[in-house]
């Protein structure tokens, strides 16, 4: 034990350290400070014993309380599911989709739940927020509905899908006018010119006039006399600004007449619960305000 040295000027004890003739005075901490420090160490040890704390050979020390964030997340999720259960039940038992739509509380819940269902199942093709994707995946946020946009129309489409094996699935076929030689190439060019004229974009009135007859004979049965479309057949409106395949140019129209593409959608009836189907229907309907 070194001898304690008292600084002659201040009367304070020194630490015994000396640098270039300068001695360090010993200004000790108050003892309660020190005890607080010890208490902190103690708390750390207690924490380590109780809670999962340090890496171990096969993972980490578990702590005798057995706490785990995963378990507590499961807990929270269970509680959330339980809290949602009564809403889900009400949506399940609502007499109709319109009734859900009319109840502000249920409508809010269905919109939020529907968004989750949509993002998980539908967004891959139809895009987030129903923004659609080029190549035949219709935009759901606009006001154009190929198979109808009422709540019940949408529900039917969601449940049974389009052109799939489900017996109740929506079905319709457009003939291969070109590749099956139903129409000649000039006829196809004429009818495309006529379709352009429906949205006032035709530049060749003579061709459009010839195309009008071709349209009346071959297309009007499904697309309507003025190309206004027939939702019950899934025949799109040809007189508006929205095009499912291509950009609405003459070439794109001719391609579609020659060898049409037709979209397919799976039936969700078997995969989503009744409540999920109802919620996603309400959500999709709300995207554009519906019909």
């Amino acid at each position: 034990m070194t001898k304690r040295e008292i600084d002659s000027i201040s009367g304070q004890e020194t630490t015994g350290h000396e640098w270039d003739g300068i001695k360090e005075l010993n200004h000790p901490l108050p003892s309660w400070w020190l005890y607080t420090f010890y208490a902190s160490i103690l708390v750390a040890v207690i924490y380590w014993v109780l809670m999962p704390a340090i890496p171990w050979f096969n993972g980490h020390s578990n702590g005798i309380l057995g706490y785990s964030q995963r378990a507590s997340l499961d807990h929270v999720m269970e509680a959330a599911t339980a809290a949602q259960a009564q809403y889900i039940a009400r949506i399940d038992q609502a007499p109709s989709l319109a009734a859900i739509r009319a109840d502000a509380d249920l409508f809010n819940f269905a919109q939020a739940g529907g968004r989750a269902v949509f993002n998980e199942n539908c967004a891959a093709c139809h895009g987030l927020g129903g923004s659609g994707r080029p190549g035949g995946f219709p935009t759901l946020a606009d006001d154009d509905w190929i198979w109808g946009g009422t709540l019940d129309d949408i529900a039917q489409t969601v449940r049974h899908g389009i052109r799939n094996a489900d017996p109740d699935s929506r079905q319709s076929v457009m003939p291969n006018f070109g590749t099956d030689s139903i129409l000649t190439a000039p006829q196809i060019a004429d009818v495309a010119e006529f379709v352009l004229s429906l949205s006032n974009r035709s530049t060749d009135t003579a061709a459009a006039g010839r195309g009008k007859t071709v349209f009346a004979d071959n297309c009007a049965a499904c697309h309507g006399d003025n190309g206004q479309g027939k939702p019950e057949l899934g025949a799109p409106n040809l007189a508006d600004a929205i095009w499912l395949y291509g950009d609405g140019s003459k070439l794109a129209i001719m391609a579609q007449v020659t060898k049409p593409k037709m979209g397919v959608m799976p039936a969700w009836g078997g995969r989503l619960s009744e409540a999920q189907q109802r919620m996603v229907t309400v959500y999709v309907h709300s995207l554009s305000g519906g019909q």
Partner: protein
């Protein structure tokens, strides 16, 4: 006086001697402070502040304020679960927490101003730590007696009397601490309900926990830690020097007048003798246990009790009062050099800047409060998709709008956009007439679709201002956002 003088031998010596007695003196023990009772102007002022501040603290949660049915009727209430703060007629939503910022800035500026004028008056008279410590010391003095009696008691061997006194003291402290902790909780829930539930066992665990926590901290800080909080824990003593200058009034020992100090025999001449009779009264009354005659020091909280103590002595020995007084560094320097003092200068660049800032911020806060609207609208433009094309070729954007109805009644609104009177607005989920309803004191959320003819969408984005109008009062709220279209 001699007895006191002996007991009050300098702090440094005490530390040194104590260390001598210990084998391994690693850490200083606490030097107990036994402040003596004192009479005088500043003591009276300090007591008056104590009564006033504590009265405000304990009584404020009991003030009622009628806000109509369904709303709490407590004048001051921070309702955390309900996410509202009530301050008399003002009701603050979480979105408006900037009022709190304004008030904190005002408090800081006020503290700066007071410090640059009068030194540590905040510490000495109004700081909660000071106020409760002072109260606890008063209890201690009432039960255990004044300084000498308390020192004797602590030194005396354990006896029934001693134990009884200690129990009485700590009991009284705990009762005060409980009242303090309880009152704190009352600012966060309805006071009468809380009191009833607290004593019938019906309050929540959270309430018991926090009341317990604040009771414990009050007891610990005001009863045990005391001046150590000011010396070791509080950051304020370390930064307040930045607010002081040579014209600030600080508690100062006028050494030019007091030195050379020493005992003085009544009736003898004062020639060659300073006014300080070295009686240690100033040290005995000091709640932080320092000797102000050593000059300005970090531990001094500026409470002025040493001024009262010394004045009493000066009167007794027949010298003018004010050997210790609030004085400026400038005057001390002047008088030490034998020059006459100058008048105190409260108006200095620093104080003028503080006052100006104080007024500006206060004006800002009051203007904001005065024009506070009970209606607000937030608009979130839809990002996916940014826009969609409609059948007729026009462009549609979707928005989520939130209506903050801060009134205690249901309201109905209409929505318009300013820049495009012809815009088609469709509100999903509103009644067919396009009226938006909002429940009392609630946020209503709507999805809104706005469409414009293609020709009206000039650049790739257009400014769009939503105007929400109350149907019955024509109160309006606006929110500017953008309308996006395809690049051209």
């Amino acid at each position: 006086m001699t007895e006191t003088a002996l007991q009050d031998s300098g702090t440094q010596e005490k530390v040194a001697s104590r260390r001598e007695q210990r084998a391994e003196p690693l850490y200083v023990g606490r030097i107990r402070v036994y402040p003596r009772k004192v009479r005088g102007t500043l003591r009276r002022f300090k007591s008056a502040m104590l009564v006033l501040l504590l009265a405000i603290y304990y009584a404020a949660p009991w003030l009622r304020w009628d806000r109509g049915p369904g709303a709490p009727d407590q004048a001051l209430l921070i309702d955390l679960p309900g996410r509202r703060a009530y301050f008399f007629w003002v009701e603050i939503w979480p979105q408006e927490v900037y009022y709190l910022t304004g008030i904190l800035v005002l408090a800081a500026l006020g503290l700066f101003l007071a410090t640059s004028l009068f030194g540590r008056v905040w510490c000495g008279f109004t700081c909660p730590q000071t106020v409760w410590t002072d109260l606890f010391m008063w209890v201690e003095r009432t039960i255990e007696g004044d300084r000498n009696a308390r020192m004797r008691l602590d030194k005396s061997p354990l006896s029934l009397g001693k134990v009884a006194k200690k129990i009485a003291k700590h009991g009284a402290w705990l009762v005060i601490a409980l009242l303090t902790g309880g009152a704190w909780a009352m600012y966060f829930t309805d006071a009468p309900t809380l009191v009833r539930q607290f004593f019938t066992g019906g309050a929540t665990v959270t309430v018991y926990f926090f009341v317990g926590l604040f009771t414990f901290t009050t007891y610990l800080l005001a009863g045990w830690a005391r001046e150590q909080v000011c010396t070791y824990m509080c950051p304020w003593p370390r930064i307040q020097g930045a607010m002081l200058d040579e014209d600030s009034l600080n508690v100062t020992y006028r050494a030019w007048r007091g030195e050379p100090r020493g005992k003085h025999k009544a009736g003898t001449s004062w020639e060659g003798h300073g006014d300080c009779v070295d009686c240690f009264s100033c040290v005995a009354v000091c709640p932080t246990g320092i000797d102000i005659r050593d000059g300005a020091q970090l531990e001094c909280i500026g409470c002025g009790l040493c001024i009262d103590a010394c004045n009493e002595v000066m009167e007794k020995v027949g010298r003018p009062r004010g050997l210790i007084d609030f004085d400026s560094a400038r005057n001390i320097a002047l008088q030490s050099a034998g020059k006459p003092p100058v008048a105190w200068r409260p108006f200095r660049l620093r104080t003028i800047v503080y006052v100006t800032l104080l007024f500006l911020v206060a004006a800002g806060v009051f203007a904001a409060l005065g024009t506070r609207s009970t209606l607000d609208i937030n608009v979130l433009p839809e990002r996916t998709p940014l826009f969609v094309l409609l059948k007729d070729g026009s462009i549609q954007n979707a928005y989520t709008i939130k209506i903050l109805n801060k009134q205690r009644q249901a309201r109905e609104f209409t929505l318009a956009v300013k820049e495009h009177p012809g815009a088609r607005i469709e509100i999903v989920g509103a009644d067919p007439a396009g009226v938006l309803a909002a429940k009392p004191d609630h946020v209503a959320t709507y999805r809104v679709l706005v469409s414009l003819p293609r020709a009206e969408v000039g650049e790739d984005s257009e400014a769009m201002t939503f105007v929400l109008t109350d149907k019955s009062s024509s109160d309006t709220a606006r929110h500017q956002t953008v309308f996006r279209g395809p690049d051209r």
